[in-house]
Symmetry: C2
Subunit: 403 residues, 2 copies
Amino acid sequence: METIVLKFGGTSVGSTDRISAVADLIKTACNEASPVVVVSAMSGETNRLIDLAKSFGTEPNKREFDALVSTGEQVSASLVSIALNQLGLKAKSLSAAQFGMKTTSNFSRAKILDLDKDVILKTIEDGYIPIITGFQGVNNDGDTTTMGRGGSDTTAVAIAAAIKSKRCDIYTDVDGIYTTDPRIVPNAKKLDLISMEEMLELAGQGAKVMQIRAVEFANKYKVLVRVLSSFEPGSGTLILQEEEGMEDAVITGIASQKDQTKFTLHGVVDTPGIASGILSPVSDSGIEVDVIVQNVSVSGKTDFTFTVGNADRAEVESVLTKKMQGISYDELIIDEGIGKVSLVGVGMRSHAGIASTAFNTLADAGINIQMISTSEIKITIVISGDQLEEAVKTLHSAFKLGD
Amino acid sequence: METIVLKFGGTSVGSTDRISAVADLIKTACNEASPVVVVSAMSGETNRLIDLAKSFGTEPNKREFDALVSTGEQVSASLVSIALNQLGLKAKSLSAAQFGMKTTSNFSRAKILDLDKDVILKTIEDGYIPIITGFQGVNNDGDTTTMGRGGSDTTAVAIAAAIKSKRCDIYTDVDGIYTTDPRIVPNAKKLDLISMEEMLELAGQGAKVMQIRAVEFANKYKVLVRVLSSFEPGSGTLILQEEEGMEDAVITGIASQKDQTKFTLHGVVDTPGIASGILSPVSDSGIEVDVIVQNVSVSGKTDFTFTVGNADRAEVESVLTKKMQGISYDELIIDEGIGKVSLVGVGMRSHAGIASTAFNTLADAGINIQMISTSEIKITIVISGDQLEEAVKTLHSAFKLGD
């Protein structure tokens, strides 16, 4: 049986009119393969539930918080099923408990352990379109868990991998992946194809179209993913496993991310194991650390710097001051106002001089570079948050990425 | 272990402020026994979800409709748990699936088959206050079901019966059971005690304080029930199993119900089995029939009349015209504009003349009686809906029930 996974994000199911449009898209997909649908909560709903929870205090009980916000996806899944039934198609919502989406117990940041693909396949064999609640799972105690923002993408890709779907279509409110954010650079160009590797780097840097964990999952399990709009027709951007067919551009795109916080431990006594000594308690708390830079040691002391999202600022500070054992340092410096800009491209491997062009471009624009981190196909530059837009525009123009 | 079940209706958990007040009530209850809490959806939430479902058509898929509206109780249960945690009390929400509330598959009108009391008791033993989603269950296929409006009362009483609680407190927005609706008769009197039998008759006739099925359950399993307000202090009305301690009033209270529809099959050929021939297909559809009257047969033909809530009008009409086999009649008469008024009292048994006093009182007020139905402790009179308030006021005064 050939299947196709269709995932609809919060704006795609943001109103009953949008849900009717989604039902039409699902009906059309039936012509290609048996659809399996994954939905997010209606846009605004998750925030409404979070606000309710926080009205009792800033740190609501984590188990109950997850049980609460998970109701948003059940509402969407039932409404999409109802809309499909009205079109004469048989559909059945499946909650995480119903299709056995097992996760770790790390509330609000749970990771997928296993899922029962037989329930999904049986539902299809019985003649129903499964409409699956994204973003959530159950732990071994039967408690409801959630996977954090964007978790529905991961649900969709995990299901596509499990049932070996021909493709996983991620429907969103943009029509594909662009060379950079079109709201910052108006002549940014839509890409028809992008490599999985490039997508990984872009998503991680806040391209915002698809969640990084989902891209990693797709990469690992060789799931063919397409990103496209549920609001307007179009073929979107296909994320290729292989590099064949890729344009040979040096730089494929520019990603940017604001609302980041930089933590610097200044004057750390440099002994073996300091990196894990600092970061283990942070990652044990389930916080995703982004850029990490450690400078060379001078007179036995070094500076250790890493960035996280602003939302995790308080928890990281608490972990660093309370749980970090045996690390001696002079000062903890916290800088909330930072931004990151990243140049991404598989072509970068074979072209020297990309980095220096980028650094020169920023210097000419009067933008000070605070940190640099590089991988084979990416250069990440940390700058002041209020210069982020300017940096993206300048680099997009310097590398001639526009239409 | 001594337990007490506390049930909070929609208005009692209607806002985050109300939920904080409920948390305080639960904290106080801890001094009496281990509390087990059952909650309804926040008032307005169920209607919001129903409106969403009906935006796709008047008859949403029943399985999905139940999965959708059941999210309302999960939201309440998690919020109450969060509020209790903020007060320093450990609490855990339990969904129907989590504590094994098994029901029939009759969506929106499911009946309780079984529940796993061990999960509830284990939760208490682990030091948590169980906060249970009322109104819902799961069928044998693992689908979510709901029990219809007021179902949370039934959940509460069923749990109290299963775990042998010392009492089941039904918190609502009124401070007890009154001799009649105080909105119609301002000097209506609050009762401190009422017999279970009288409560059964009153609830069935729309006293609106507690659902009839829940009262039946309490009666059957000998659960001590108290009805009281979550908005203001007070001891409410205790619903006694035994008649001891009851005031020897002839009439205890007057119930009334509007928005009823009367169906009359005129000129039915009178053969054995016509009552079940007419009503079986109706009850097979899960519709609750209220007053049933069949007149004596004249020249081999009879009139068969029954009433249902206005909400069921269309379905009953469809059943009567399509599914009723082998019943021959002259005409189907449907009258939507009717109301019912009922006199209730265990003292009625031993007092002749109650019925004639009631009929004379109505006649003097110019109110025409359309149907009469009596039980040992109740007289139900069907009249025109627009004379209902007048009938209640007149009877309340005639039987001197006021303060």
